[in-house]
Amino acid sequence: MNHWLSLIVAAPAVAAALLLVLKNEQKLAIRLVSLVGATVSLVGSLVVAAQYDRALGGFQMLESFPLVPSYGIHLKLAVDGWGVALLLLTGIIIVTGVLASWSVPKRDKEFFLLLLVLVAGVFGVFVAQDLFVFFLFYEIAVLPMYLLIGIWGASHDVKAAGPFKYVWKRFAVGGKEYAAMKLTLMLLVGSAAVLVGMLILWNGSGARTFDMQVLENATFSRTAQMWAFPLFWLGFGSLAGVFPFHTWSPDGHASAPTAVSMLHAGVLMKLGAFGVMRIGMVLVPDAAEVWAPLVGTVAVINVLYGAFCAASQTDLKYIVAYSSVSHMGVVMLGAATLTPNGWNGAVYQMVAHGIMTGLFFALVGLVYERAHTRAIAKMGGFAHPMPAVAAFFTLACLSSLGLPGTAGFVAEFLVFVGAAQSEHWWWTIPGVLGAFVTAVYVLRACKSIFWGPAPKGEYAHLQDAQRTEWAAPLVLGSALVLFGFWPRFLLDSIDGASATFLSRVVTVASAPDMETNK
């Protein structure tokens, strides 16, 4: 029995605890401790990816500790094929995120502390095998965001709408505080729905346990399932940006500081999609099959609506944020197909989009720090002063629109194949259309920011990436290409888990008939 999983989860938490004893003035020490904590987790994730026995599949590296025995709550950690891929994604994003926030302007200690706590929660979700502990880690991952955006975010014009006008009145101090509160409240309403769903399962199984493997084998009454699934779908879905519960995402991501946007769009939204698939679809399979048409149709709306919204934005961060809404739609679409290809594509899209959007936000942060504007109309020809940034941004754009050779292509292709194979083949059409609109808006944004004649005046002497700022573009950029050319590295393990899980949901031959890119 080895303890790599607890090490991965504990390393950021321990680093956060260490930060408590440091002083705010010890800037370098704070950063180094954070970096070491994050790196230990990344190394752990790599070791897990290497040690995970793909031929054997299933759950491996099990660790268990009783937390509240009388309620059947155990701190039970294990990793499956999806977990391997998502741990690796989280590790990559947090290390580059720490490096990208090297220049955080104020209250450094608290910033890194919250960032590390958050990421410990994310790691925990991906390895938790107890529904309850899953939920615990999920909340830990969601909540620090409030302070991270509220304190270190960027204020800008946000239009308050709907029920949030009340919030706005109380907090009409700056856009970031509005965005932070909106994000927290919407996600917490989602958590409340998830909690009710969990109660239904806990009660319905009659086993007085939250152990996910026990719950997987329990049979729930049809009524319980029909109630539980939508709760999980909308509850976790609010974090995955499911239409119409995505509205926190553009405001939140646009207001958040660079590393937080990277982590939130890159990893946290995946928690939502992961929750819908791992909890919603696998634990209540009958209802998942019934609800799948609606899930897929809403996902298609996400893809198109997100893409069109992104196309009409003038603020760079809003473009990237809406593109996340659109891309998360692809994930949900893949999940709704209930086919091996669709599910592999969905999980692969989580990884691909995580890395790509992490790269986007890192670069946008870089540009913003130098140009102090995010309005694309004011920018132009930035490739002249900052060629490296321009090159990597273009790479991210290409992955975003699904160019072969990038990770985005593998993911989207698998999802669209899955959609075509599913009972609702027509989902493919709006899906592909969404990819086309994506091409329009990312290329337009890329063109108007970076290409064209060299900028004059205040933008003439923008600096290219410096020192630690290189980390995010280099690591994330190469990961995009690596996963684009060698999808097998992750797909093998993902496929094993998808097949096992899917066999619970639908009784189909689980052999994937598409051996794309392998």
């Binding site: 409030y146 304190i151 009660n203």
Partner: protein
Amino acid sequence: MSSWVHLLSLDLAVVGLAALVMLLDALASLRGRTIGALVVAGLVGVLIASFQIDVTGTTPHGAYVSDAWVLFFKRIFLCAAILGVLGSIEWLDRHAPKRQAEYYALLLFSLVGMLLLPGARDWVLLVVAFELMGVPLYVLAAYAKNDTTPGEPKLAAEAALKLFVTGAASSAFTFFGLALLVGLSGSTSIAQGAQMSPLATVGLMLVIAGFGFKLGAVPFHFWVPDTYQGAPTPFVAFLSVAPKAGGLAALSVILMSTGWVGAKELWAPAIVVISIASMAVGNLFALPQTDARRLLGFSGIAQIGYVLIALAAATEQGLAMALFFIAAYVFTNLGLFLVVHAAAQDMGGHGIAEMSGLSRRSPWLGGALLVFLLSLAGIPFVIGFWAKLFVFLEAYRAGLVVPVIVGIVLAVVGLFYYLSVARQTFMAEGKSDEKIHAGAPLSAAIAVCLLAVVVLGLWPGPLVESANAAAAAFLGGR
């Protein structure tokens, strides 16, 4: 006689401590913080003794029972008193140096009433204990009559009067209800019960209403925010938790007793209505508050609503989780009030706006405040989360779906105002950057609460087990 006196040894020890405090004040005229230190030491001694000596048993005629249930509550009350006294030491020394002994003596007498409550199995003993708990609190609420934070109105007299008038009214309700019940059953034993009749229903509802006042449950909640705002804050820290635990003990002793648990079709819906109303009023009225103490008052009303859901489940596990909840609430709310007290001393008031920049002026107070707020809001890895979760689980299992859903939705509303306090302390710019120095006893009390909230939040198992044991002991021995 000697065969049962040992059952009351802990209670008698506290009575002795109270007498000692008054004697020492009269004879030795102690000044400074000595008396406070003595009281804390004495109470810690009693708390330790509660783990060391065997006090289980039943008095003749079963009027008083001492078992795991009673001990669970006694330890909660003792912890609350110790922390409350620790928090008061400096304030008393500074603001009422010559009236310290009375303060402690009154608090100890109130504590004796609480200690007797959970073991009472006779209406007379129960009511006497309940009044003994309540009467000293009226005096204590007026303790800051001539002394307020500069810039804030003097509200102590109003606070005490509201507490007293509603308290007296609630006693009247209780007595009237009891007169009916005892008359119908022909016995003062609670376990005797009565044939259900319209008159018995009226009697039971009046008794519930009477105890509901002390709990601060809607519609008997009007005194809560005003008293919290006007009474001295370190005392409110104690008032906001211990009597609520006392009210819960009294209500459970009555409703879950063999005499009345059979009538749960009658009282459970009433408790559900009270609980939903408390959660709704508490959470919604907390939203517009600008004074931290009033906000915590309404939040306390809401929290009581959550406890009552568990009680309304009328099951052994439900009762156990009500105990767990109240234990969690004691540490969280006490700690929170003490932080507000510590901050208000240096920041010029109890308004939420005055709290701005707290995290910068004292990172540890700011951090503690955040943890307590998160615990009240029910956020994972602090104890309040488990408390809410277990309450919801048990209520859901008992079929109370509507209050659970209402509770969960309102918990999100709660998060909004708890976060708005956190926002003020963490994000808003303060007026000055001067450090805040809370004294040693106050800091120690806050640290103990913080430790309990975090450690039990990480590993709630032991407390759950002991709450289960307590509920099992009560239901097994009733």
